[in-house]
Structures are given as structure tokens and as C-alpha cells.
């Protein structure tokens, strides 16, 4: 196993991926680092990749006038960021900004889609993982909406 594959294997998103699949996704990965304040992605820009965070911290933000820039989610080591590469129009829905120095694997979506076309099992493995993350995010969002409703005392 290459160093890259070992690091990918150490990330919770890929930790139980089979070695042959790990080798395929490693071919679509490259390590990147960002300084505090750098943007990993900008809203509206083409989204052809996602990130697996290895260290540091990233905040999902958007400009919400008149409130200004609002952070709506933070993520740290072990988390996965970015889903827009999966579905058209393949554009980032939010800004992603490093809040501290951050290391990540940038996963090339186009390269991965190419691998999925060859190996459906790999596609299934990845999409199952993404569905779980998306499901958890959606549950969390619904809980936050319920808290808002509760706080306002309306049903």
C-alpha cells in the first residue's frame, strides 16, 4: 500500500474500503493544504471535486444580506466536504473557508466518475458512504428547524 493509500485508509470515510478500491480512489486523490482564511471552494464555481479533511478546520459559509457572511456548518479532521460534484449543475452551493491551517485530500470528481463507469461496485461503495453523510446532514438540518419552531412556540 502506498503512503497515499495508507492515509486514505486512515480517514473514516474510506477506512473500510477494499484495497483494490482504495488503489482506484488514490489515483483520483491529491493532498492539498490551505492557510487559515483560504477558500477551499467558492459558491457558484464549478464543483468537480470534494475534500476529505485530514487536519484543521473548515467552515461552510454564505453571504446572507442584511446579516452579512454567515457560517452554517463547521467541519474538522475526519469529515468529508462537498457533494455538488455528484449532481448537475456541478457548482458549489456554498463557500468553504479554512478557519485554521488545514490539510485535506482533494478528490477529483471527474476522475472518480470515470472509475465508477468501469467499476460499478466502487460507485456503489462511494455513493453508500455519501448517502450516509447526506442523510446525517439532513437529519441535523431538520432537528435545527424543529428547534427553531420550538423556540418560537408555534407548531
Amino acid at each position: 500500500m502506498s503512503q497515499e493509500q495508507r492515509t486514505l485508509h486512515g480517514h473514516p470515510f474510506f477506512h473500510d474500503l477494499e484495497p483494490r478500491h482504495l488503489a482506484l480512489v488514490a489515483g483520483c486523490a491529491h493532498e492539498v493544504s490551505f492557510s487559515a482564511g483560504d477558500y477551499l471552494a467558492r459558491e457558484g464555481h464549478p464543483a468537480d471535486h470534494f475534500f476529505l479533511l485530514l487536519s484543521g478546520g473548515v467552515r461552510m459559509e454564505t453571504s446572507a444580506p442584511p446579516l452579512g457572511v454567515l457560517g452554517i456548518l463547521s467541519a474538522g479532521a475526519g469529515e468529508v466536504l462537498g457533494f455538488n460534484w455528484i449532481y448537475p449543475p456541478y457548482k458549489w452551493s456554498f463557500d468553504y473557508r479554512a478557519t485554521v491551517d488545514t490539510r485535506a485530500f482533494q478528490m477529483d470528481g471527474r476522475c472518480l466518475r470515470g472509475e465508477f463507469a468501469q467499476d460499478h461496485e466502487l460507485g456503489y461503495q462511494l455513493m453508500t458512504r455519501f448517502s450516509a453523510v447526506l442523510g446525517r446532514n439532513l437529519d441535523a438540518t431538520h432537528l435545527q428547524i424543529l428547534e427553531l419552531i420550538h423556540e418560537h412556540g408555534t407548531r
Binding site: 461552510m60 457560517g71 463547521s74 474538522g76 441535523a140 428547534e147
Partner: protein, 265 residues
């Protein structure tokens, strides 16, 4: 009792310090509540949110939601209100000695939990590791911020905060409070969780705590249902076979699990 101090915590939520007219003491256990009577507006159950080690002053934090709580929140320093209590069950602090304690709460849920945090800090050496996980809609909606800041500065209490959204000046977690349970290492085995929030949020908190390895019997929660008499007589707060005002509001989760899951009661 007389209101000797009043503080606006956040919009719509005020904290009151009350003292008996005769200067006596008011003893209570963490987690208990009082029935507060506002003249002409009715009586409502409100948790005691002060320090059980300082019985000279009674502290309540109140959110204005309806007739009684709105009138309560409009009261000023020097005015009086009626107090019946303390009522109900308590966080079983004595029973939990030797354990690691994790408090999980959001919004106004910190008010009923705060006396347990005070208790733990007053008897710090009797407990293992202590963690407070607290969430709010945004940084301006966090209760007791000065105290949270002080607690964060301690070596013997870990404080983890999450807000739903924040401007760039906030450098903490953003997200739902339950996500902090999985991010914050909770050592199963010798850990007990005390949780307080809306009922639906508490079910999500329990799920996360279960995933972190805590059993249902290691989780205590405080339930808020409509309470009228406070004596287990009128039946307003009946939840299956139990009366929240008398047997609750604090329960061990496995004792009420089946009742919370029910859609209609």
C-alpha cells in the same frame, strides 16, 4: 418572595434572583422546579437554575411564551411573586459520585441543568471527567455567557459549544448540538449523561449517546410537560403511569423510553 435582581439574558429570556421577605433560606436539589405565581396571570412550573450551595437566593430563568411567563418577565426588581416548592425529582448527583459526567443541552435547557453543573463544581473531587456540551441557534442565543466563559477557563470542566449559524467572529463549532456528542470523546463504561432540551432533540441526543456507547440506564433527562398542581393530583402532567410533577421532571431514560416514543399520550 421579592425580586432582588433581574437580568435580561437574551431576547425574551430573563433571569430573576428572589429572596424570601423574612431573609430565610431556600434549599433545593438540582433539577427541581418551583410553581411561580404571578398575581392575576396564573401559576407556572419553572426550574430552579441557581446554585444549590447558595440557598440565600433563589434563581429562575424564564422565557416569555404565554400569559403567565410574559407577565413574569415584565416584573421588575422590588416586585413580588408567589413561590411554591421545591417540587419534583432531582439529578441524582450523590448517586453519580465517581462517574464521568457529560451534560448535553441546548437553548433554555441549560437552566434546569445549571444547578447540577454548580453541584459538580462545588464537589469537584467526587466526580471523574466532566464535559458540558451546549448548543444554541446562534452565539447571541447562548445563555449565561459570562459563566460559560469562566467555565471554559477551568481545567476540570470541558465546555463544548455549538451554534446553528454565526458570523465570522465566532470561532467555535457550527452545527447541531447532537453532532458534538460524536465529535467529543465520551468514554463509555463509567460515564453518565444528564440531558435537557426539547423532547425531540433529547431523543436525538440519546441516539448519539447510545452510538457513543452509553446505555439507556446511563442517561438521565428532564421532561417538560404541562404541570398545574405540582402535587400529582390534577393529572395535567400525566405521562403514562407517571406524573411529571411528582415522579419527574428528572427521569432515568430507560424508565420513560417507551413513553417518549409514543406519538399521542
Amino acid at each position: 418572595m421579592v425580586i432582588t435582581k433581574k437580568r435580561r439574558e437574551i431576547e425574551g429570556i430573563h433571569t430573576f434572583w428572589l429572596e424570601p421577605r423574612d431573609g430565610g433560606e431556600f434549599h433545593f436539589d438540582p433539577g427541581q422546579f418551583n410553581m411561580l405565581y404571578v398575581f392575576g396571570a396564573g401559576e407556572v412550573p419553572i426550574s430552579i437554575s441557581g446554585d444549590p450551595g447558595k440557598p440565600g437566593r433563589l434563581v429562575h430563568t424564564v422565557r416569555a411564551v404565554g400569559k403567565a411567563t410574559q407577565r413574569l418577565c415584565a416584573l421588575k426588581t422590588g416586585e413580588s411573586l408567589g413561590v411554591r416548592g421545591p417540587f419534583g425529582s432531582a439529578w441524582p448527583m450523590a448517586q453519580l459520585e465517581g462517574k464521568n459526567i457529560v451534560f448535553v443541552t441546548s437553548g433554555l435547557g441549560l437552566a434546569p441543568l445549571r444547578p447540577a453543573v454548580y453541584w459538580l463544581l462545588n464537589h469537584r473531587q467526587r466526580y471523574g471527567k466532566a464535559t458540558l456540551i451546549y448548543g444554541a441557534r446562534n452565539p447571541r442565543r447562548l445563555l449565561y455567557v459570562d459563566e460559560l466563559r469562566k467555565w471554559r477557563g477551568r481545567f476540570d470542566l470541558r465546555v463544548e459549544l455549538a451554534v446553528g449559524s454565526a458570523d465570522p467572529t465566532w470561532d467555535g463549532n457550527i452545527g447541531v448540538v447532537t453532532s458534538l456528542v460524536s465529535k467529543t470523546f465520551v468514554e463509555p463504561g463509567n460515564t453518565v449523561a444528564l440531558i435537557c432540551s426539547s423532547e425531540r432533540m433529547m431523543r436525538a441526543m440519546v441516539e448519539q449517546l447510545n452510538q457513543a456507547g452509553l446505555n439507556d440506564g446511563d442517561i438521565y433527562l428532564s421532561l417538560e410537560r404541562s404541570i398545574k398542581c405540582g402535587l400529582g393530583l390534577c393529572g395535567h402532567c400525566q405521562l403514562g403511569p407517571t406524573f411529571i410533577c411528582k415522579d419527574g421532571p428528572v427521569y432515568r431514560y430507560d424508565q420513560v423510553k417507551g413513553l417518549l416514543a409514543q406519538r399521542e399520550l
